[in-house]
């Protein structure tokens, strides 16, 4: 890392959360930032939850699993990212992380086994939406609390709603909140007292709407979860506190496409509402216009060099590029206006696909003015 507004944003931060809609280069950006932090001498880990192994691919690792793997320094050095720090990578397995969390929170082995075997838990911890986001936050918190790294960079899952991951800890802890547990844990109507009169009727309607087995499984699940509920709620609060604290910064990543820019602007507003620390907006793959004065002179020179038909083709390519660049520039300006004075980094489209460590070096150079 060297200079530029991004270096200032990251100064003193321990947790960097990269968020944005899908397909905007979030994984690549997270990996490039982590590599740059490592090059600066920090012991850095980049976490992703992406099952498509993009992180492993871009770091040139055979496979990155639920265990941290170190990226060889020679590989980073070859990409112009030499330094004294270390770069580690981890791809989260949401289900495995959830299972570990249960195991470490369960008061005894019988409770642990009962929860792990419960059908509701098995769906909850599997592929269903929400649990991935929750586990990403959970792992982030755990790694930060353990203190084994100077900097953690999180590549958030491509959320349907970019807010999902912010809300995830709270939502899951509400689900297993001790108050809702009471309803299911106590047999008879006395236990429904908290919800007031009429709760018995609600339960009867609920049974009719869902089927009894579902309710029984839920009751079993909540029973088994009983002793852990407070622990989970405290944990969710701690995660939220970490995200909102001054050691954390959120980087929003977007492409210059109109739809992505609109999503990013919306998310920026929501971060603000939630009181989360926004660091910078990163606009990836911005195309630049062709640096040539248009007109007769250019057309004549090209025609002299290439002949008229080929010169026309070249000029059409130039026009295409310019129209793309003009639209990118307009969208970037829209975003800049949206942000007021907050930092915006436009990363130009790099020749070729960025999908290896060399590409990460090039992205890092753009992000941190390392040229």
């Amino acid at each position: 890392m060297s200079g530029g507004p991004l270096a200032a944003v990251l100064e003193g931060r321990e947790v960097v959360v990269c968020a944005g809609s899908g397909g905007v280069g979030k994984t690549t950006t997270a990996a490039a930032i982590a590599a740059a932090l490592a090059a600066e001498g920090r012991r850095t880990i980049v976490l992703t939850i992406d099952p498509a192994r993009r992180l492993a691919e871009s770091l040139g690792l055979p496979d990155v699993g639920n265990e941290a793997i170190r990226v060889p320094s020679e590989r980073l050095a070859a990409a112009g990212l030499a330094g004294d720090g270390e770069l580690w990578a981890m791809t989260l397995d949401a289900k495995l992380t959830f299972d570990e969390l249960i195991a470490s929170n369960a008061p005894d082995a019988a409770t642990r086994d009962a929860v792990l075997a419960n059908p509701i838990y098995r769906q909850l911890s599997g592929a269903l939406a929400g649990s991935q986001e929750y586990m990403a936050m959970e792992k982030l918190y755990e790694l930060h609390a353990e203190g084994g790294y100077d900097a953690l960079v999180l590549d958030t899952p491509p959320a349907r709603n970019a807010l999902d991951f912010l809300d995830a800890p709270g939502r899951l802890s509400r689900f297993i909140d001790s108050r809702s547990l009471q309803v299911f844990r106590s047999s008879g109507r006395a236990g429904l007292g908290f919800f007031g009169r009429g709760a018995g009727a609600v339960m009867a309607v609920l049974e009719r709407a869902t089927g009894v087995d579902l309710l029984r499984d839920l009751a079993e699940f909540f029973n088994a979860f009983g002793g852990m509920a407070d622990g989970f709620r405290d944990r969710a609060r701690a995660v939220e506190a970490l995200l909102a604290s001054e050691v954390t910064t959120f980087l929003l990543v977007t492409s210059p496409r109109a739809a992505a820019i609109a999503d990013a602007a919306y998310f920026h507003g929501k971060l603000d509402e939630a009181g989360m620390p926004f660091g910078a907006m990163i606009v990836n793959r911005v195309r630049e216009p062709v640096a040539a004065a248009r007109g007769e002179a250019l057309a004549a020179e090209l025609e002299g060099l290439l002949g008229a038909p080929l010169a026309r083709k070249v000029l059409r390519d130039v026009d295409d590029r310019d129209s793309l660049a003009a639209r990118d520039a307009a969208n970037v300006e829209r975003m800049r206006a949206e942000l007021g004075g907050a930092p915006l980094l436009a990363v130009p489209e790099l020749p070729g696909d960025v999908h290896d460590v060399g590409g990460l070096g090039a992205v890092a150079a753009e992000l941190f003015d390392r040229s």
């Binding site: 509701i120 689900f175 609600v202 579902l214 590029r321 696909d353």
Partner: protein, 310 residues
Amino acid sequence: MGALLDRRLIFVTGKGGVGKTTVAAALALAAHRAGRRTLVCEVAAQERLAAAFGMAAEGFREVEVEPGLNAFSVNPEDAIREWLRYQLRSRTLAGLLGGSRIFQYLATAAPGLAEMVTIGKVWELAQLERKTPGSTPYDLVIVDAPATGHGIALLGAPRTFGEIARVGPINRQAEIVDAFVRDPASTAVVAVALAEEMPVTETLELERRVAAELDVRLEHVFANALLANRLSGTEAATLDAALAGGPSDGARAALAASLEAHQTARAQRSQLGRLKRGLGAPVTTLPHLLTHDVGRDGLERLAAKLERDL
């Protein structure tokens, strides 16, 4: 591909940012031109579809784009309310339950409930006998689905939910919806891809995953945003030679831009080849429109290409 438009439901998924909304809208336009009464439906409450057709979104309602072509935006909150009304056959009971704190606890947090009611609403839209009072059935419903992982979770929701509720009304409904979305005569799952390294890898992975996790075949892949390659290899060599000859700065930039476009187009062709070789599903290509906001004209161009190719 005529067969594709003969399904009742087309589920359009793929990596984020590849143009799923655009392709779903263009497919809907093509189906409509081919005489199908068509609904195109988004499920992430982004309300991008109406905008794609240059219209204002109107929430949980079928909006007419033109006669025979409608758009709809499903959001889980409204879908849950509607589901409760059908389930209990009573507005009063639905109001009681929907307003109760226990239900709100469950509904906001219950794993997969949002997905289940969303896919349930999509299923309802695709039925010849609609439950929505006063509604007209559609020949075809096209879903602008969430990106890969969430898309698979959405399609798999009826099955997973059926497993949670092993008996009872939810289980029965889940089984009906599950059978419909996994029946190749009714439903086609298609993907949108870009001809770039990572999107191609993800699309190949997607085909493998829908087969393994849902026992569903990926029916078709649309390779989107292909750039024109104006230069032959010989012409590119001529440009290279001209560059080496020391032209003015302006001509140098123009030549370099043209060569870059040539390289990008060639890289796309090679990724397209990799996609076609790796996939079992057939691939249809769509051109890059060179705009960010596709607009109605752009949609018409894509739809015309789809009509020719399908």
